[in-house]
Amino acid sequence: MATSAEVRSILDLPAHQPIAGPSQPKKPTASAPRKPEGISRELYSLIGPSSTTLVAQFAKPQLKQKPTFGASAKVKWYRNFLFMALYLMLRREWRSFKNGGRADSLQLNHWTKATSDANSEYQFAKYNVQRPTFTYSDDEYNSLLQEEGWTREETDYLMSLVKDYDTRWYIIHDRYEYPRPEDSPRSLEDLKDRYCGVCRKLIRNRPWTGDDASRQALLAGFNFEKDREVLRKKYITSLENRTPQQIAEEEALYVEIKRLEQNERRFKRERDDLLRTVAGIESGLPDVVEDDAQLAGILADPKRKKRGNELDSPSTPLSAPSFKRTIKSSAQDIQHCITRTEPNGTFNKSHQVAYLRSFKIPYPKAAQAQKVVQAMTELGISSTRLVMPTAANLVHLENVMDAATNLVETKRNVDRVEFEIQVLRGRLGMQTTAPKNEDGEPMELEDADGEAEPEEGRAQSVVSTRSARKQHRRSMSISSVDTSVSARKRQRK
């Protein structure tokens, strides 16, 4: 679909103006700054009038009234325009180039953008970076670089290899084929040591133009401790030469250590539980915290294992400062209505996560939730949403909820007992009126009794323990600050 002008420009023919055919009237050439017809203003402002080849194109569709096959002149124009633009942009040439990295005059060919500069530097020549190499004069060698076991020739050979292989030491060692008089091949470390030694001496003894820091940095780059390297290689070799049995043993030992650590952790947890049950949380608090801190260190420091097992160890500096702070600032806290909660012993301090108090709103037990909520809504309290979930409010809410739960529970028990009484009464009445059936019913009755009674007892005991526990916790949460503070005050006194 290329028009004649496009073909001309593709072929790089000089004529920018289309040559008018005999049938065509002579076309008035569009003056450059005027926006040509048939192209939108936005597009024109983008291209600008500078591109003369394009401007020559603009007037084209006006003149040639070709039949439009479905596409309007405008669409066709756009198509041609895009084609041209792409062509100009992406046109490439098979061009020969000279590589700056080469010493000779080899000219290879490659495809490049026609728009790029033909004389520009080859873009990959810049990667041809040579590492600075050290050379030395005879005087320098004789005065500085002489070393036992190395001849001048061998040193030269080494330096040339290092230059050839860009200090890739494995390769240098591999290609090192200097005829050695004795039967001791040079090891990689020998070569590296010699090279670094030569470089260090040259840097130290030559005048230095830069600052001292850069010189030190350069020297550090050539630092090489041969003995350490040899030892390290030896370790690697011995690590590799382990027999499968040794590896298995090592693995078994590792598993054993892991197991011991796990045991230690379990013991610790169990002891914590025991402490809490026996001594109570409030009294045992400092001890527990201390132990935690100490036990945490066991894993890191196996030497402390023995001490970790002692129960009442003296307070470590880790826990001490926090208490001091509490005492000092307690007056201030009261003044500013700051409530501090003590870590409750089961976790390490570092393990205590921050939480919103609203997350701690008590919920009724699932079994009675509906009734409890009902009872509370009767009182006009929303159990799920507290407007201000302060500590005090939460305690209140918990009290109310406990009371409601107890109430519901009691109500249920009362209902049941009443129902049972009713049933028994009914049966009693039936028995007195109709004593005939002796086969099954008394048995049933006994069964019912036997079942009912212990269940009731159990339920009661559960309730009682639960309430007792709750009471306990509540008291703690309310008075934790005061008690702990006062307890400590007492201790100090």
């Binding site: 080899l106 060919n109 080859y122 041809n128």
Partner: protein, 438 residues
């Protein structure tokens, strides 16, 4: 392209192997021309060849200038009266440069239809190539093909490049040679190089397996299609019914017969043989399903145990097999794969061993046995727990790994300063090859 450091100068990559010669444009992903390395030739022109050639003499006069060569697709595989078949590659190295020149010319001019004088050429060489050989190759390229620039690169390095690695332990199993090459930063560690003619032993084992009768079947005749006039289908395991083309049998040379028999064996190996992933285990072998294969004679057989015996030779020789080989070749049996690998790694720096074991590249057409990679992993995993094997799943990548690496290298912008140019060749002569191609 610029982002990847590529800059194509329409270089040609030429990879010469024991089985085929691969030629293509550097930058492509498959070679354009793949022709067999073997070639057919007539000692004298066929018109005058009326008397049969003495086979022993034919083998001895291998080096004699061939009157006519038949190369490429319709070269050795076509039956011609009195045509010998030769292979210029021995032990992975070029032993006869005359046919190699003809092969390269055929691939470049007749198959790819391009002019060698316009393209820099990158040739591959095995790691154990001799300096004389590579200099001779450079001479051929500059003097006979008049290439503008030339470079010769190591197949091990190129295989590592094809896998996208600078450092790797390249395990290359070709048709005739298996090699283990440690490559560090694009250089071969020559001291760690290990290679053996193991694939040849595997092949001869398969050959004798097929030829020798077992209790279930007779020995199998390995006649090529070209020599069979008629055959009828028979039940699996039954003796084949076929008629030979007597007119051709008379004019068939021994080298052509041997070449074709080897080809039949190779085809059988390629379609049937495998390697047990977890080491040899009689129970496992019997549990695997047998495979059917039909030979040109019409003989059809089910192969179960034999399939795995063939592949097992890569890892473990049976004693009598090794002995037979030693007697036949007058040389110790080639080393097995685990032996080659451990030899290679033992020669490397201890620090490098783990690095190399983590970058194993498995390549070469001979490694395409089913289960080969898994078996190699099981064998090596015991001593190298961090072992990682890179084995391209694409058979083309596996077979033409070295060519692919050459294609990558030859289209790199930073590589173009390494070419040995015609000018440099004229100035420095042969010595430049050893200096430039390290």
């Amino acid at each position: 392209m610029v982002n990847y450091g590529g800059d194509e100068v329409s270089a040609l990559a030429v990879d010469i192997g024991s089985s085929s010669v691969r030629v293509g444009y550097a930058g492509d992903d498959t070679p354009r021309a793949v022709i067999p390395s073997s070639y057919g030739y007539h000692q004298t022109l066929p018109d005058t060849d009326t008397t049969m050639q003495d086979p022993a003499e034919a083998a001895n006069t291998f080096q004699r200038k061939a009157a006519k060569m038949y190369l490429g697709q319709f070269g050795p595989s076509v039956w011609r009266e009195g045509m010998q078949v030769g292979n210029p590659i021995q032990g992975g190295l070029i032993s006869d440069f005359e046919p190699v020149t003809a092969l390269i010319r055929h691939a470049i001019e007749d198959v790819m239809r391009c002019n060698a004088t316009e393209h820099p050429i990158l040739v591959t060489e095995p790691a154990w190539n001799t300096p004389q050989n590579r200099e001779r190759m450079a001479e051929i390229m500059f003097e006979e093909f008049q290439v503008p620039a030339f470079y010769i690169a190591n197949t091990g390095v190129l295989n590592a490049f094809a896998a996208g690695k600078g450092s790797a332990l390249v395990i290359d199993i070709g048709q005739k040679m298996a090699s283990v090459t440690p490559v560090v930063d694009g250089f071969v560690l020559r001291k760690g190089l290990a290679y053996s003619a193991l694939p040849e032993l595997v092949h001869s084992n398969a050959h004798s397996l097929l030829k020798s009768p077992t209790q279930h079947r007779p020995g199998i005749d390995l006649f090529p299609h070209q020599l069979i006039a008629a055959k009828s289908s028979v039940e699996p395991g039954a003796a084949p019914i076929f008629a030979l083309r007597e007119d051709r049998v008379r004019g068939t040379t021994d080298s052509w017969r041997a070449w074709y028999e080897a080809r039949e064996v190779d085809e059988w190996i390629q379609s049937v043989a495998g390697v047990l992933e977890q080491g040899w285990n009689d129970h496992q072998v019997s549990a695997r399903p047998p495979k059917q294969y039909e030979f040109p004679t019409g003989y059809t057989g089910w192969f179960s145990g034999e399939r795995y015996i063939v592949g097992e030779q890569f890892f473990h020789h049976s004693a009598n097999m090794a002995e037979a080989w030693a007697r036949q070749m007058n040389a110790p049996p080639p080393k097995t794969m685990p032996a080659l690998i451990s030899d290679s790694l033992r020669a490397c720096d201890p620090e490098l061993r783990q690095v190399l074991a983590g970058n194993v590249v498995l390549t070469g057409g001979g490694s395409l046995f089913s289960g080969f990679g898994e078996r190699l992993y099981t064998e090596l995993h015991r001593s190298f727990p961090h072992l990682k094997i890179h084995a391209p799943g694409n058979p083309v990548e596996r077979r033409y790994g070295a060519w692919l690496g050459a294609s990558v290298l030859g289209s790199l912008g930073t590589f173009h300063q390494l070419w040995i140019s015609q000018e440099e060749w004229k100035e420095h002569g042969r010595a430049i090859v050893g200096q430039r191609c390290k």
